[in-house]
Amino acid sequence: MLLAELRNREQEMKQFRLRVAIAGAAVLAAFALLALRFFYLQVVQHSVYQAKAEENRISIVPVSPNRGLMLDRHGVVIARNYSGYTLEIFPRRVGNLEQTIDELAELVDIQPRDRIRFKKLLAETRNAESLPIRNRLSDEDAARFVANRFRFEGVELRARLFRQYPFGEVASHVTGYMGRVDQADLSRLEAEGVAANYRGTDYLGKGGVEASYEAELHGTTGFEQVEIDAAGRGIRTLSRTPAQPGNNVTLTLDMRLQQVAESAFGERRGALVAIEPSSGGVLALVSKPGFDPNLFVDGIDPLYWAELNGNIDKPLNNRAISGAYPPGSTFKPFMALAALQLGKRTPRSTIHDPGYFEFGGRRFRDSKAGGHGTVDLYKSIVVSSDTFYYQLANDMGIDAIAGFMKHFGFGARTGIDLQNEALGVLPSPEWKQARFRRPEQQKWYPGETISIGIGQGYNSFTPIQLAQAMAALSSGGAVYRPRLVAHIDNARTGERRYFEPEQMHQIPVRAEHIEFVKQAMAGVIKEGTGARAFAGATYAVGGKTGTAQVIAMKQNEKYDEKKVDERLRDHSLFIAFAPLDSPKIALAVVVENGGFGARTAAPIARAVLDYFLLGKLPAGLRRAAEDEAAEKQESD
């Protein structure tokens, strides 16, 4: 037994040693292969590589492409490039950074904020070759530096293109802004396999169209073969593969309309989205407050950045696509359509509105004390009866409501060509089940269905969802994917790619029902809650006001605006489309803490429609436009 085991051990040992010997032989063979390769490179091909190394005074320098332009639907330039001088420091070639910057400051204007930004860049970017200490030098400063260049080893003056947004804050959430390529961007570019194309590129699009169409706008990096001397300095260019400029991106946006909308907002916070119902093209997309993308261009100054981030109004947040608001009464036309389509109401059925709806011993109050008396479907929209829709929601049930509203895209991303779109909430028992953790919270209570009927409760939609739904309703149920880009042009070849309207689906709803709701919405403007804001309008328009509670009122408490803190006041909403028979525009407006929809949101919609349909400019913009025209005439 022992002997057998011993023999077994010996056998095993022999086996192992055989494998060790094989491994040793394999190692030798592999190293011999390497030795052969070295022999081939260093002896057989030596003269070839020797020559190449001699020639290898050639350095490959990337040439960054011009970024594509961004234009509005009429060809007005929204984002362009201009060239300027930038003073760059090569940290690895500079002995004492502090001292060098101090000496530079004697020649050129270097502000404390430039120093802060430089330090921040230095800390953030590892292995960067050069970092800007001062952007957009004046010609004088540039000349003064050139005269003293010999004193500054490791500091160079470079001509660079900067992004410029002539409209400043206007449409800032659409354009986005440019930011330095950071470590996270680098690894993403590496993963996408385009890192080589970003050699020599310091800035890329962050947010807005700049980010979502980065691949189109950036262009292809070219390279130059430059002969260099023994110290690595360039002597002459040997060959050049030119960079190919980025494509020009033309938006569906109407910049003038955008200006009108933004000026109508004034200092108020909120969002507006206007869509062309027949294509999904976005005509205006406002999120207030905005920011000035020009200030990001040369690496944002840390003070402004802190201000933007610390601001409780969150100016960097694009409310139009990532803010979610309860729709309030703007939900009622969709509820009415659902009632007709599902056979829960007919145009002739009426209810009595005593000013409240009683359910389970609880009173759901109407916003009008005493109620609207006898109310039919038409009147329910025109006067915005709450009682009517409490009752309707209760009759329909949450499943039917959620099932119908899904068609309009509520609670789902619209798929607009911008990043960070929010989902919103179209409440349903399934949603509640998934949303909450505790069993008693997961259950859907019938009472919760009732406030859904007037757009309160868990309901919360993004302005773009509201605008998309409005567009779908106005165009007979065709849902298009909202999009900002109309076409993309290759500036060099003249090749143009159109983005065809993309119809996502057709809502199964009868045309006569849609016509009824549209007529009722026209009634809102003619004789209802929107009448005052649209007094004297010469075009036919349909609309609906909405007021969304920010804080929940107790059962018998009365909402008193003056007593409520400004940020807890109701949101003001308005949706509209025009003209009535063949709509060319559908829009949704949300004014945060704006109070009644009729008071703040509706006038903004009026200003937008007045310009879009009649070309009428508001007073402030009119003067600016006249000046512009006069200037143009003078120069002609």
Binding site: V20, G24, A53, S187, R188
Partner: protein
């Protein structure tokens, strides 16, 4: 009493030399010296790197000495904890990496950061050697299956980081253990065949940039701004070195900044340009001797654990050296693998010296058994 007659200094010397295999020590010190010379040339603008590397070397030597004092029996006890910790770290990096986009290989620990994959380079062979040792007398095919699973899990994590180079190296080291443990030739053959057949499948799983690196190897001129540039320039550096080299500090390729990563992964290009074919052969000889010494230690080791560790560590040295030199001389794709004992970098150096410490520990135990 006898002890007292020995002068105290000599006593300390004796204690220090105890358990240290002089052949191994001389070989790795020679290699490290060549590394320092090349490093000085590669970073002649900032000698701070050389001082740094010297400090790294000192720390690594201490670690090696400490490990060499630990008998293999005790080392075995570290196998399971090291493996579990290594896996946990890889898991942590997979989760935390998602948050801090772009830093998926690294884990921040206080002020420093390190790559958990580095831990696996030794933890995996330790674990496998321990496993085979434990099941020594009853070794069946299913044990190999378990071993394969122990190998695949961490490797899959590293592949997903994605760090294909390190994954391949860790897999190769682990596979070394399985091979030396005696996986039958028939299974080996079958696996080889399967592997070849699966190549097109693997190709489908590769990231675009990984495919491009392989294609770039076949024709470097297709990607003159990216990886192709590295291959072109490092091949020129090696070729222009010639038989005798351009001489220390005289390499133009390195000094004109044509060589990327010239103090880490591509330091061989600097070395090869300045010391030529002769220098390369010296380097290959040193590596061969190191590996041979390791294999001899393996062949004479007393326990299954000892021989598997010694053999797989030797194979690890070979794999790293071969892959790195193959990459720099343009016969293997560009992967981030340092040249053992020569490349700049504290963590890699530490791993290598600990590995040598394990070899010494195995060697020492054998002597004790014999005497």
């Amino acid at each position: 009493m006898e002890l007292a007659t020995v002068p105290p200094l000599r006593r300390i010397g004796q204690r220090l030399a105890e358990g240290i295999d002089s052949t191994l020590l001389i070989l790795i010190l020679l290699l490290s010296m060549l590394g320092l010379a090349a490093l000085f040339s590669a970073t002649y603008e900032s000698p701070a790197r050389v001082l740094n590397q010297l400090a790294n070397l000192g720390a690594a030597l201490v670690a090696m000495w400490l490990v060499a004092q630990i008998p293999p029996r005790t080392l075995m006890r570290f196998a399971v904890p090291a493996y579990v910790i290594g896996l946990a770290l890889l898991l942590a990096v997979a989760i935390a990496g998602d948050v801090a986009n772009g830093a998926r290989r690294w884990l921040h620990v206080g002020v420093t950061r390190f790559q958990p994959a580095e831990v696996m380079k030794l933890a995996l062979p330790l674990m496998l050697a321990w496993y085979f040792h434990r099941n020594e007398s009853t070794l069946r095919l299913r044990h190999f299956a378990v071993a394969a699973l122990l190998l695949v899990v961490p490797v899959a994590f590293i592949v997903r980081q994605p760090d294909l180079g390190t994954a391949a190296l860790v897999a190769a080291t682990g596979f070394g253990v399985i091979f030396f443990a005696g996986l039958s030739w028939r299974v080996l053959g079958a696996l080889g065949g399967l592997g070849l057949a699966a190549l097109p499948l693997v190709w489908g799983f590769l990231h675009d940039y990984q495919r491009r690196r392989i294609l770039t190897l076949l024709d470097p001129t297709t990607d003159p701004l990216g990886a192709g540039y590295h291959i072109i320039q490092s091949t020129i550096a090696v070729g222009s070195g010639g038989a005798w080299g351009k001489g220390w500090l005289n390499g133009t390729q390195a000094h004109l900044e044509f060589i990327p990563e010239r103090h880490t992964d591509f330091i061989f290009a600097v070395y090869s340009e300045e010391f030529g074919l002769i220098g390369n052969l010296v380097l290959l000889t040193l590596y061969s001797l190191l590996i041979a010494r390791g294999l001899v230690i393996a062949a004479n080791a007393a326990t299954v654990f000892g021989r598997l560790m010694a053999a797989s560590i030797s194979l690890m040295f070979f794999t790293y050296a071969f892959v790195n030199m193959g990459m720099v001389s343009g016969i293997l794709p560009v992967v981030g693998v340092p040249l053992p004992f020569l490349s700049y970098g504290g963590t890699a150096l530490l791993t290598l010296f600990i590995a040598v410490g394990i070899l010494m520990s195995v060697q020492r135990t054998r002597q004790l058994v014999q005497s």
